[in-house]
């Protein structure tokens, strides 16, 4: 039974300490029946990718409010590719200006969730867009 559950790594890249959103999302995903691992604060892209591989997750969900998203999000996608894990769905959220979203999507972040997002829409998005077969 448990091997059919979607596994998600909720990650906080960079130095940003705002983890309210990340924790709320983590709980909501867990309440929706997913297995959730939360990295805690201040993770480098390398640490996030190594946790994703080690925990064999289907999704990496990153939250960032410091403005360093254009730098840090694409780096995680790149490193996942290097580890032959491009079938991991990568999504992001936080204070992210509208005009940055096309760039992030082009770099392989599948979806960006901005303030006001319902946790239900994140759950639904993950269920509909997961790349790996469960």
């Amino acid at each position: 039974m448990s091997e059919n559950r979607i596994r998600v790594l909720v990650a906080k890249p960079g130095l940003d300490g705002h983890d309210r959103g990340a924790k709320v999302i983590a709980r909501a995903l867990r309440d929706a029946g997913m297995e959730v691992i939360y990295t805690g604060l201040r993770q480098t892209p390398e640490q996030i990718v190594s946790a994703a591989i080690q925990e064999d997750v289907d999704v990496v969900a990153m939250s960032l409010l410091s403005g360093a998203h254009n730098h840090l999000f694409p780096r995680v996608v790149e490193l996942l590719k290097k580890k032959n894990a491009e079938d991991v769905l990568v999504i992001g959220g936080g204070i992210i200006p509208e005009e940055d979203i096309p760039y992030l999507k082009e770099k392989g972040i599948s979806e960006i969730f901005t303030p006001g997002t319902y946790t239900g829409s994140v759950v639904e998005y993950i269920r509909n867009n997961i790349k790996r077969k469960l």
Binding site: L15, S66, I95
Partner: protein, 561 residues
């Protein structure tokens, strides 16, 4: 008529009113909800409050007079009739030059104090060229690597006239040292300096995240600053015990007060344990709270905060100087209530929150800008936020009497209710061994996260209305023009400046001072003099923090979901 008889008569009349007048009205139309509670806690509200709600309240004991114990009505006898609050907008981004320009702009527009936002590498003790700083330099605040940057940040700003608040915690001692030396070079003496250093590590562990060292050496650095300031900086607030970030992370109003005051108790205990007399430092402790939309609850919260702290300082710590009993605080409007949807609506939210802070008797105020759910504030938005304070100050008339809401049956009842609930939390935290223990075992983080999750679920279930988010949405969101963008080249520019500095200073002397600091850190001495010496020779923040990291180690958080 005796007081008791009077109350009995009111009770009887109220019963009649409920049975007849109210029931008659309810038969025609029901109330909008089955029950009403104040939004951030589960305290059910009565339909009305009458003198009965205050039957256990003693005016002289519980409310008293402004400027007198227990300060429920304010810390100054004349409050805003004497002097308005300090209008202090938190600002800083990019390089020291850019931030210096923004400060001058805000001062020119009528701001009366400065508040420095540092970037994350500065807050966590990394120089701009550190690999950990990549992508973060100048993003959420200004990048300060050394005294040289500090000199640029305050160029041509008269520090004997303007007070400065610095949001810096784990490396507070270093940034304070840079400020002192920079002011001295401007010709301003240390005893003239007015302002505040946040210096509140416990809420970093609990809610804000910019910790570096474990609790024990962190508490040592904090008491070192207390001691140094009490001897040398009579007008400087040596700490700003902050509930703001605890609330932003999701805490309720009661939790905001409870956890902040519990942290305050921990700092006082640490300083006493380090050998200081409570009256030597308690008068320079300041606080920092959040102002949310729930106007009356917030007013009651501020009033309760003063009363609770006054009692703790006088009764628990036996402080003798009335100055030590006073809870003075800065307020910032609630960033977490701002919406990315229909951003102009945020101006209205900020206005309500401003009213809460002013009715609550704040000493200084930062008003958020309408665009902060989207980016750092643009110049125009920052001006509008400042204008909001100015309109409340000069046009609303609420500054003309002291504590105008006192005596409202509801406000007084709520003030008392909040006080009781906060004291229950403090008792629980005391029983755990104090705030440091309650943070180390994750209790406070868990409480905050629980509240944050409940809040979100209420929004999604439509139990809590947020205009523009779950009601009154616009089909087509208008995009906000003119958002501030930090130039990505700031990082490179800052690194170049840092390398140049390292070539031009006396590196042997710097290394000697860092070695002295290392030795002192291994012992028991106050580290402020050593840090001042290193800073004076342009040792960088990262270099100093690296020495301290080697000696003190790093904090390893418990992660609780």
């Amino acid at each position: 008529m005796l007081e008791k008889e009077k109350l009995q008569k009111i009770r009887k009349s109220e019963d009649n009113w409920e049975k007849e007048t109210v029931q008659e009205a309810l038969a025609k139309f029901k109330e909008r909800q089955e029950a009403f509670s104040y939004k951030s806690d589960d305290f059910l509200l009565d339909r009305i409050y009458t003198p009965l709600a205050l039957r256990n309240l003693d005016y002289e004991r519980d409310i008293g007079f402004p400027g007198e114990y227990p300060f429920t009505r304010g810390v100054q006898p004349t409050m805003y009739r004497g002097k308005l609050w300090t209008m202090r907008q938190y600002a800083g981004f990019g390089t020291a030059e850019e931030s210096n320009r923004r400060y001058k702009y805000l001062l020119e527009k009528g701001q009366t104090g400065l508040s420095v936002a540092f970037d994350l590498p500065t807050q966590i003790g990394y120089d701009s060229d550190d690999p950990f700083a990549e992508g973060e330099v100048g993003r959420v605040g200004v990048a300060i690597d050394s005294l040289a940057d500090m000199e640029v940040l305050f160029k041509d700003i008269p520090l004997d006239k303007v007070s400065t608040s610095m949001t810096i915690n784990a490396p507070a001692a270093i940034l304070l040292a840079m400020y002192i030396v920079m002011a001295e070079k401007q010709g301003v003496r240390i005893e003239q300096l007015r302002g505040t250093i946040q210096n509140d590590i416990l809420k970093e562990y609990a809610a804000r995240g910019t910790y570096i060292f474990p609790p024990k050496p962190s508490m040592r650095l904090i008491t070192n600053i207390f001691e140094y300031c009490s001897r040398n900086m009579p007008k400087w607030n040596s700490i700003s015990v902050s509930g703001y970030h605890i609330r932003e992370a999701g805490a309720t109003a009661v939790q905001e007060l409870a956890f902040t005051i519990a942290n305050g108790i921990a700092y006082v205990e640490a300083a006493i344990k380090a050998g200081m007399d409570v009256d030597d430092f308690a008068g320079r402790i300041s606080f920092f709270f959040n102002a949310h939309n729930d106007l009356l609850e917030e007013v009651a919260k501020f009033r309760a905060a003063r009363k609770i702290w006054a009692k703790i300082m006088r009764e628990r710590f036996e402080a003798k100087n009335p100055r030590s009993w006073k809870l003075r605080f800065h307020t910032q409007t609630a960033g977490s209530t701002l919406t990315a949807q229909q951003p102009d609506n945020n101006i209205v939210r900020v206005t309500i929150q401003t009213l809460a802070a002013v009715f609550g008797g704040t000493q200084s105020l930062h008003t958020n800008s309408r665009d902060e759910a989207l980016a750092l504030p643009s110049e125009e938005s920052a001006r509008l936020a400042l204008r909001t304070q100015q309109i409340v100050a000069y046009e609303s008339g609420i500054t003309e009497i002291v504590d105008p809401l006192a005596g409202s049956y509801y406000i007084e009842r709520l003030t008392l209710e909040i006080e009781e609930r906060v004291n229950a939390y403090i008792k629980k935290i005391d029983a755990m061994g104090g705030a440091v223990r309650a943070i180390e075992n994750g209790y406070i983080q868990k409480e905050i996260a629980d509240s944050a999750y409940t809040y979100q679920k209420e929004i999604e279930a439509g139990k809590r209305i947020v205009v523009g988010v779950n009601k009154f949405q616009e089909e087509e969101e208008t995009t906000m023009e003119g958002l501030l963008r930090v130039d990505p080249a700031v990082g490179e520019e800052q690194v170049k400046r840092l390398l140049k500095l390292k070539e031009s200073r006396d590196n042997v002397a710097v290394q000697n001072k860092l070695a002295d600091l290392r030795k002192a850190a291994q012992g028991e001495e106050n580290l402020m003099p050593y840090i001042l010496e290193a800073v004076r020779l342009y040792a960088t923040e990262g270099e100093i923090c690296n020495v301290l990291r080697e000696v003190f180690g790093k904090y390893r958080p418990v992660e609780i979901l």
